[in-house]
């Protein structure tokens, strides 16, 4: 009952978020802009193209008619045509999204794991040598603009030592030969692929068992993943450290010790979970941060994913692509926040039931 109410309320709120965002964008593109057709067609387009676009998006009609078609199009999946690629935005997203999703999820898992571990390690000996080293490292790293980290790694490991390749998600020669993953789909009743999975270079190679492609995809992903991990690094380290120190000072940790439990049991069973809890509230933000980071990271490494696509659209003022990806990213982030919050509710019994 509680959970269902909660999810329903969140779903309703999420709907308003998307509507709100669409309103802002509609206002900017169709009303505030001095020449809406140019916005939609792109600044480089010819007069004829502009006229065509104006007709396509009903830009010569009154604003409420425009608004009607704008909303209908958004909710029916007709997200316009990218002037840059001359393809429907939705099919571009289909192509690029899985690549970035794979990259950010890998980075996310490693980042959370690494930061939490370092936070706990720092708290074991506050102001000790290890703690200070960690502190110096993250303070410096998080001040670096994401492109500087990417650039540094690129210069060192790609151009310098040639340890890792400098661009693309996979070696293009290998990439062309990897078959797409297929499986027997009991619902469709036939062998099909799965768009999300078979467009993820690492997972797809793994599932079809192409080891050459797999190792190529992995080595192409190393530098982007490391850069994403270092992007905004330290927030969780610090939070975990502070809350661990606080928890270690709590009465219930003393109770655990007074019970005669060994120190490692006290730390791992009693202190750890409580001190990791506050970090979970930051997890949604971390994920959103990684999505942002992927714009820069994919641009510099030429990693053809959603981030690269958004960056290209920004640089060429490709409005339909920008709006399409914005809506998509909003949905992804809303969903991830929902998952995080529900997960938090289950991890912390205090938030679960009211009495």
């Amino acid at each position: 009952m509680g959970l269902a109410t909660y999810v329903a309320r969140r779903a309703l709120f999420s709907f308003f978020v998307i509507i709100g965002e669409l309103l802002i964008i509609f206002y900017l593109t169709n009303i505030a802009a001095p020449d809406p057709a140019v916005i939609w067609a792109g600044p480089e387009s010819t007069k004829a193209q502009v006229a065509l676009v104006a007709q396509m998006y009903h830009l010569n009609s009154p604003w409420y008619v425009q608004f009607y078609y704008y909303m209908v199009n958004v909710f029916s999946g007709n997200w316009g045509i990218s002037p840059l690629y001359q393809q429907p935005v939705i099919s571009l997203i289909e192509e690029y999204l899985p690549v970035t999703l794979e990259l950010t999820i890998i980075a996310f898992v490693f980042k959370i794991g690494l930061e939490m571990t370092l936070g706990v390690v720092s708290a074991m000996r506050p102001n000790g040598a290890v703690d200070n080293l960690i502190k110096v490292t993250y303070t410096t790293v998080r001040s670096a603009p994401p492109f500087l980290v990417a650039l540094g790694l690129l210069l060192l490991f790609s151009y310098g030592t040639h340890t890792f390749p400098s661009s693309q998600p996979i070696d293009p020669i290998l990439g062309a030969t990897v078959p797409k993953f297929q499986f027997y789909n009991p619902i469709a009743g036939k062998v099909t692929g799965f768009w999300l999975v078979d467009n993820m270079p690492i997972l797809n190679a793994l599932l079809v068992g192409d080891w050459a492609a797999f190792s190529s995809a992995v080595s192409h992903a190393v530098l982007p993943v490391v850069t994403l991990i270092l992007f905004g690094f330290g927030g969780i380290v610090r939070l975990v450290k502070v809350s661990m120190l606080e928890v270690l000072d709590q009465d219930y940790v003393r109770t655990a010790r007074a019970k005669g439990l060994r120190e490692n049991v006290v730390i791992f069973r009693h202190a750890l979970r409580n001190s990791l809890l506050p970090a979970f509230t930051l997890i949604g933000l971390v994920f959103a941060g990684l999505v942002t980071g992927s714009l820069v990271v994919e641009t510099i490494y030429g990693y053809y994913g959603l981030g690269y696509y958004v960056a290209e659209s920004l640089l060429t003022f490709d409005t339909p692509s920008l709006i399409g990806t914005l809506i998509l990213i909003t949905v992804v982030i809303i969903l991830s926040n929902l998952v995080v919050d529900i997960g938090y509710g289950f991890l912390d019994p205090r938030t679960r039931v009211g009495y």
């Binding site: 802009a33 916005i39 506050p126 200070n132 151009y159 959103a288 003022f317 409005t319």
Partner: protein, 294 residues
């Protein structure tokens, strides 16, 4: 106390020295950017004008003559970095200043007045919180900037403020809500002090210190964020030099002329570090919960 001497040294350096270093960095950069208005600065410090073309020494690697090297047109990158400082420093102040102003005002009154005012402000702030703020700001900035290159930087700042204010609104409101429960505020109410006076005497002094900490830390973040906007061409219009854009422009010259991108990025990092260290120092002063255990 069996701490190794090196760790104690690191601790001391990071305790008080860190704040000093942070403030030092900020002062140096503020002075430099103030001086950047006069051409004589470049001759004294960099020895070249940021716009002077010198095809004779184009693509020169870093050297004593050109500390950060030169670009394809032979312009001195060090001089161009100095020329880019004013805009890169002033933007965080403008953006954070405006966000703090709006957020502080809305949050304080929402928290103190309660009722429908609070409900409305909170809902709107929540709405903005649910947006992927950076991507939204980038999109807004790109849509508005598509038509007018000259106004792009203004649109970018607006976009950053649009996504920046909700944080301060929530921060201020949360602080006010907890202050409102404090017996000393209750006592002021019982004494017949007006709401405005209570806000002025009891709420704002407490709030200001907390907001100051976050604002200082946020300046560093905003600087980095703006550099990302500039990186994507959403900053000031060329030919005005701009650190983020210089990094982007330099990417084409990789791996050969790495210094085109590297030094502007490095300067951004040092500047952001300055804000971050100064903010951490403030936090230690104002937030006793974290005092001494950074």
């Amino acid at each position: 106390m069996s701490k190794s001497s090196s760790s104690v040294t690191l601790g001391i350096i990071f305790g008080n020295w860190a704040t000093l270093v942070g403030v030092g960095i900020l002062v140096v950069f503020l002075v430099l950017s103030a001086l950047a208005a006069w051409p004589v600065t470049y001759h004294l410090i960099a020895r070249y004008s940021p716009d002077a073309l010198n095809f004779g020494s184009s693509n020169a690697p870093p050297s004593l003559a050109h500390l950060f090297g030169t670009d394809a047109e032979g312009r001195d990158i060090f001089a161009r970095v100095i020329a880019a400082l004013p805009i890169d420093i002033v933007i965080p102040f403008e953006v954070v200043g405006a966000s703090v102003g709006i957020g502080f005002l809305l949050g304080t009154f929402a928290g103190y007045l309660g009722g429908w005012v609070e409900e409305l402000v909170l809902r709107v702030a929540d709405l903005f919180f649910a947006f992927p703020s950076v991507v939204l700001a980038l999109t807004i900035s790109a849509i508005l900037g598509a038509t007018d290159e000259g106004l792009r930087v203004v649109f970018t700042e607006l976009a950053l403020i649009v996504v920046g204010w909700p944080f301060y609104t929530r921060l201020a409101r949360a602080q006010v809500i907890s202050l409102k429960q404090m017996p000393f505020v209750r006592a002021a109410e019982a004494s017949g002090l007006g709401k405005l006076r209570i806000i002025r005497m009891h709420v704002i002094p407490h709030l200001a210190s907390v907001v100051a900490v976050y604002a200082t830390l946020d300046m560093g973040t905003t600087l980095l964020l703006y550099s990302v906007f500039a990186f994507f061409g959403l900053g000031v219009a060329p030919p005005t030099p701009e650190l983020g854009r210089m990094v982007y422009d330099g990417l084409t010259a990789l791996p050969g002329n790495w210094w085109w991108s590297f030094f502007p990025g490095l300067i951004l990092m040092i500047l952001a570090l300055g804000f971050s260290l100064a903010g951490e120092g403030l936090r230690d002063v104002f937030d006793p919960r974290l005092r001494g255990q950074r």
